[in-house]
C-alpha cells in the first residue's frame, strides 16, 4: 500500500493527533527546516499503516523509532481483552518513508516471504554531469547520452529514485554506491524494472509513476536470496 500526503493535509491539530511523546521529542529536536518534512513523513506512514492493519489502530497507537544505524522500525500499541500490553516492536510490517519539498510518500506491506519495501519521491530535475556519471552504471549512462536534453532530467530522476528506493529497501542507504546497482527495464511491462547489485543475491523489482506536478514516485520490493 502506498500513500502520498502534501502540506494541505497538515493542520494546527496535527501534532496532538499524530505524534506520540517519543516522536514529539524527536520533532522538537529537528532543525526548523526539517520539521515539516518530519510531520509529512509521519502522517504518510501512519495513514498507510492504519490502512494496512485495519481501522482498529489510530495514529497514537503507532510509533516509529530508530535503530542505532538510523533504520526506522515500528512499534505498535497493543491491547488484548482490555489489557494494555504496552508498545511492542512489530517485525512483520515492512515500511518506508520519503519526502521532498511539500509532500511525502510512504509504503507499508505485511512481510510474508522476507520481501522488504522501499520508496522514494523527487521532483523531476536536472543533475550535474559528474553526479550523473557517478551514479549511473556504464550501460545506463550510454542510454542517457542517447536521450535528448529535454528527456535527460526525467530519466536521471527516475533512475535516482529507483536506486534510492532500492537502497532503502535493503536497509543500506547510501552505504551502497548507486553506481553498483544496475536497473533493467522490463520490455513488456510499462514502468517496471528489476535490479542487479554487484556481489549481492537479491530479487528486486521496482515500479514508478509520475504525477501531473512532475513528481516521480518509486516503489521497490527486495528479497534477499539465501545460498
Amino acid at each position: 500500500m502506498l500513500k502520498i500526503v502534501t502540506k494541505k493535509d497538515i493542520s494546527d491539530k496535527t501534532l496532538d493527533k499524530l505524534l506520540t511523546l517519543y516522536e514529539l521529542s524527536r520533532y522538537d529536536n529537528c532543525l526548523c527546516s526539517k520539521k515539516e518534512a518530519f510531520l509529512l513523513g509521519r502522517l504518510a506512514v501512519k495513514k498507510v499503516i492504519c490502512q494496512l492493519l485495519g481501522n482498529n489502530y489510530n495514529f497514537l497507537d503507532i510509533e516509529i523509532r530508530y535503530e542505532k544505524k538510523g533504520r526506522p522500525y515500528l512499534r505498535l500499541f497493543t491491547e488484548v481483552n482490555g489489557l494494555n500490553l504496552g508498545k511492542n516492536r512489530s517485525s512483520n510490517v515492512s515500511f518506508s518513508i520519503a519526502h521532498t519539498r511539500d509532500r511525502a510518500v510512504a509504503v507499508a506491506e505485511i512481510i510474508s516471504d522476507g520481501t522488504l519495501v522501499g520508496v522514494d519521491i523527487e521532483k523531476i530535475r536536472s543533475f550535474s554531469e559528474s553526479t550523473t556519471r557517478s551514479f549511473l552504471t556504464t550501460r545506463e549512462y550510454e542510454k542517457y547520452t542517447l536521450l535528448s536534453v529535454a528527456d535527460r532530467g526525467r530519466y536521471t530522476t527516475i533512475m535516482w529514485c529507483l536506486k534510492e528506493a532500492y537502497m532503502k529497501a535493503t536497509g543500506e542507504g547510501l552505504a551502497i554506491h548507486p553506481g553498483k546497482i544496475e536497473i533493467l527495464f522490463m520490455r513488456n511491462e510499462c514502468q517496471r524494472c528489476i535490479f542487479l547489485e554487484v556481489g549481492k543475491k537479491v530479487l528486486a523489482q521496482g515500479e514508478w509513476l509520475e504525477d501531473k506536478d512532475e513528481f516521480v514516485v518509486t516503489k521497490v520490493n527486495v528479497k534477499f536470496l539465501v545460498n
Binding site: 530535475r125 550535474s128 547510501l174 554506491h177
Partner: protein, 82 residues
C-alpha cells in the same frame, strides 16, 4: 601548523558546500552535520562527488558516507592528501 592546514581545507570544503548546496560558505562550521546541511539524498551524493573530485583523494566509498560532520571531511582530506 596542522591547524593552519585544517583551516585551509575547511575553507575549500566550505566553498564546495556553498557551491553545491547554495549556502553561504562563511556560515559553514566544523561541527555542522553534513546530512542536516543537505535538503535530500541527491544533494548529499552531489556533495560527496564534489569532495572526491576537488581533493582527488583515493576514497573508499564507505569512508565517504561515514563522514558525519564537516570536521570529519576536513580530517579525512588532510589525512589522505599527505
Amino acid at each position: 601548523m596542522d591547524k593552519v592546514k585544517s583551516d585551509v581545507t575547511l575553507e575549500k570544503v566550505s566553498l564546495i558546500i556553498g557551491d553545491v548546496l547554495g549556502v553561504a560558505s562563511r556560515s559553514v562550521l566544523y561541527d555542522d552535520n553534513i546530512i542536516d546541511l543537505c535538503e535530500d539524498s541527491i544533494q548529499l551524493f552531489e556533495l560527496l562527488v564534489a569532495f572526491e573530485e576537488e581533493f582527488k583523494v583515493e576514497t573508499a566509498y564507505e569512508d565517504v558516507v561515514a563522514m558525519k560532520t564537516v570536521q570529519d571531511v576536513v580530517d579525512y582530506v588532510d589525512r589522505h592528501k599527505d
